[in-house]
Symmetry: C2
Subunit: 221 residues, 2 copies
């Protein structure tokens, strides 16, 4: 199976925050399915999959998003595919929710004894280890962290397929959330926006990639 | 360049949270360098690279970590490589920090006019769009989100190379932070722990991967 080191690194050098796509080029359906699938197959804390993906192909809805998305002015109208990544809020993610119990029982298919033990560990994790219940924001931000794993994987998978992407945090949070409630039928008491990510094909070459050197960001022990 | 859809998906099915590694097997240096490099080359908000990687190969230090890491009891002693991922705190990440200014000037090599504009946009992003300055935790959690992109990419790169991994959030946060200060010479006023990730080779097959079906986690518009 193994993919070569060179091919992996080529994908990472290929990927850049593509600010404008060629509006005439569409991603093949099988490729976009693969990208979404790498999001779905991403790992998450306790395996609780706190993500939800809105694929926005409707031009009018993209324009509505664009109104409050200063960081996506060129990407939103030109992208082949636009994904708004939501994260699940307390209603789903708190240790005693129906969602968590159902997921352990029906998706993870764990035996009842394991479910009880895992719930107890998860409760302690939220209450004491990471203190996630100190505010709604702390719990939601933790769910968002997991969605960034899926975000990274989808962009990496796209790059491996020769497809460009741009992640977007540049938007007016409250206005986008209101828009999701009013125009996308999202229950924003239960879901919040994590970020957006756009996919397509670059219209011009990006800037040369810049990063701090490895020795500035690593320490060996 | 393109890697096939099948090879990409095979990597995603290969990856699982490997709870115990074969302690006798070491990752080749060139492979581990590639894994770390995919962390370094990961995207982050504004390109501000809020991560720092501690590679912990010292057995005594691993045992110290293990004392407060209930989720890494078998992984920490058996992994070929252990990485503690830190995220930068307010000292580095606030819009007016020296780190941000230096990074734009010396790493991103932006012209002064662009630096001034980007700083203004970043300030507004932190103050208004994402309200990151409402608490130290909000700003730190946002930095942590970016590190989860690197986390995801490193695990995906490992899987593509046929190398197993396990991400770890299962630890007593405050105790690990204290340990990093006392035994790893980390200035925990400036850096906090985001998560851990271990790499190596599985000693037995993992459970079959389980996930919610795609239609439960996506909506098209």
């Amino acid at each position: 199976m193994a993919i070569s080191r060179d091919d992996i690194l080529k994908s990472f050098y290929f990927r850049h925050a593509c600010k404008e796509f060629d509006a005439g080029k569409k991603i093949a359906e099988a490729d976009f399915s693969t990208i979404l699938e790498t999001g779905r197959l991403s790992p998450s804390s306790f395996g609780f999959e706190p993500w939800y993906f809105l694929v926005v192909q409707d031009v009018t809805l993209r324009e509505k998003l664009r109104e409050f998305t200063w960081g996506g002015q060129k990407q939103l109208p030109t992208a082949s595919h636009v994904v708004v990544i939501l994260a699940r809020k307390k209603y789903f993610m708190k240790y005693d929710s129906k969602y968590i119990a159902d997921l352990m029982r029906n998706v993870q298919k764990l035996p009842e004894a394991v479910i009880n033990k895992k719930t107890e560990v998860y409760k302690n994790f939220q209450e004491n280890d990471f203190k996630l219940l100190e505010s709604e924001r702390a719990l939601f931000d933790w769910a968002c962290k997991q969605t960034y794993i899926a975000l990274g994987n989808m962009m990496t998978a796209a790059a491996a397929l020769g497809i460009d992407s741009c992640p977007i945090e540049g938007f007016e949070y409250d206005k986008i959330e209101k828009l999701l409630a009013e125009n996308f039928s999202i229950d924003t008491g239960k879901f919040g926006i994590s970020c957006m990510v756009t996919f397509g094909f670059r219209i011009k070459e990006g800037r040369k990639k810049t990063r701090q050197p490895m020795e500035n960001i690593t320490q060996w022990y």
